[in-house]
Symmetry: C2
Subunit: 136 residues, 2 copies
């Protein structure tokens, strides 16, 4: 299951993608439009800024804005920052790989086998979908 953090994060990003670039949008504006708790959204946008997706401006007329063109932001990047691994098990994760404690040989593991397929197909979708695709 997708966490609310990721869900809200994607919603906020697409909201920003629909605005003119570099025009700051207040957290409160996004919060109200998308029905997201203001304080929770605050921490989400903060993490998106720290990971390089967003810029921010303080004071009156301030807010958050996208740093890149939406069509240059693939969903793989968004998902990895917000949700973490795309794979359903760590042993098939590209960016968050971890060996299973119980499994002596990944090559003959049934779970590994099928989850690798799932990861590949999911990854292909996220790779070929950008923020621009979602904001239309």
């Amino acid at each position: 299951m997708l966490s609310k953090k990721t869900k809200y994060g994607i919603k906020a990003l697409t909201f920003l993608a629909r605005q003119d670039t570099h025009v700051p949008v207040r957290i409160a504006t996004i919060s109200e439009s998308e029905n997201i708790s203001l304080k929770f959204l605050e921490t989400i946008l903060l993490s998106l800024r720290k990971s390089g997706f967003l810029g921010s401006k303080k004071g009156k007329g301030g807010g958050y804005y996208l740093l890149k063109n939406p069509k240059d932001i693939p969903m793989t990047e968004v998902m990895r920052v917000l949700e973490g691994p795309i794979a359903m098990v760590p042993c098939v994760s590209l960016n968050f790989y971890e060996k299973c404690q119980d499994c002596p040989d990944e090559d003959i593991c049934a779970v590994n086998k099928i989850m690798l397929k799932v990861r590949d197909s999911t990854l292909e979708i996220f790779r070929n979908t950008t923020l621009a695709d979602l904001s239309n």
Copy 2:
């Protein structure tokens, strides 16, 4: 992320799929072979029996066994019983559908849009993979 319950459940099912049908296998045997806590596995196998995948036999020479031919058990069924919804958000789930509280219109929701694609591709893999495919 896949729960350990699902992971262990799949491992146990594939283990049973490799045996001759209707030959009971002790929980302890599976537990030792697959490095799964015996007590935890017990509850998992119990739920698999209750959902119609497994039969069981008590007493000496007893254990669990598959009720159907592995090639007639698609992974969609296994996943839904063990893990629950296949979709990453309830609003795109076929069997566990739920409307989002925050989202006024699913048709224009960015999250809904992309997660629908992910669900479709994941579903296709699970539909076309049976327990027999995993146990080879």
